[in-house]
Symmetry: C2
Subunit: 165 residues, 2 copies
């Protein structure tokens, strides 16, 4: 089945999106990575130890106070190159149909990605991190401290994915 | 120092927000919780085993296919009652000043909360979950499968918070 990078594959399904959005996001910075095309991005952040730079707009830099005391952060960013109307998808590397909300695909009604990154250091209002797999220039929308007490669940299972192993 | 629920405290700092937002989000559902006021919400999701209901709009329900195979999910939701212009905050329960990006406060440039929840069951296009601490009626913006391989970091440390223990 032919498809372009973001084309619709057999087994995929789109819906009509609402006529308008309900709230607005500000891009608060940009993520600098070594990957200039989607094909060049690692399939999974664990495949890469690449060092990436998170640039924060000067307006918001004071919000970084004490971030340097965190070993890990949650980054939220906006995958603005993705279609938003897919509810069923057949990811190329799996070849089977799954609901959008059972996938981490960038194609989703709100293309907000969540990545847990290791913070290497803070320099001049920039974060130096590892653990990202996104395109160079991706817009940043939030930085949060990672609390193992609430965010870490080592025993969590994604059943459909486990069966593919 | 007097303050109302979302007032500015001594030691807090606001910035002027950009003139316009850069992208729009759709509210894809609503979260039903037992808490009708901010004061009633648990301070931390771990303090509560309350069962909450995540309602997905019919338009997007097919996207739930295979979500039932996940033990845990990441929910992203929109904390639409919070100011967005704070860069330094003095949370009442800590009493010390921290940057917005070192806090999980709902007050942030983009009020997107991230919670890891346990999925109890899926019923008629609704998710029954535990591990939430948000207001009843909070708008939902995304559901993602929680992958322990990339999302779980048991050894993560938030230095400024640890020193408060």
């Amino acid at each position: 089945m032919a498809s372009n990078t973001f084309g619709i594959r057999e087994g995929e399904k789109t819906v009509e999106l609402p006529a308008k959005t309900d709230a607005g996001v500000y891009f608060i910075g940009r993520i600098r990575t070594p990957w200039k095309t989607r094909d060049a991005c690692p399939k999974n952040a664990r495949e890469s130890d690449a060092v990436c730079i998170v640039e924060i707009d000067p307006r918001f830099r004071e919000g970084l106070k004490d971030v340097e005391t965190c070993s890990h952060l949650v980054l939220l960013y906006w995958m603005d190159k993705s279609p938003r109307n897919l509810v069923l998808q057949v990811p190329g590397h799996y070849g089977t149909q799954h609901g959008t909300f059972a996938l981490r695909s960038p194609a989703r009604p709100n293309p907000v990605a969540m990545s847990v990154v290791r913070l290497l250091r803070v320099e001049d209002g920039k974060l130096v991190v590892s653990g990202l797999d996104c395109l160079d220039g991706t817009p940043l929308i939030d930085i949060k401290p990672y609390f193992s007490s609430t965010d870490s669940v080592p025993e969590a299972v994604v059943g459909w994915h486990q069966r593919k192993d």
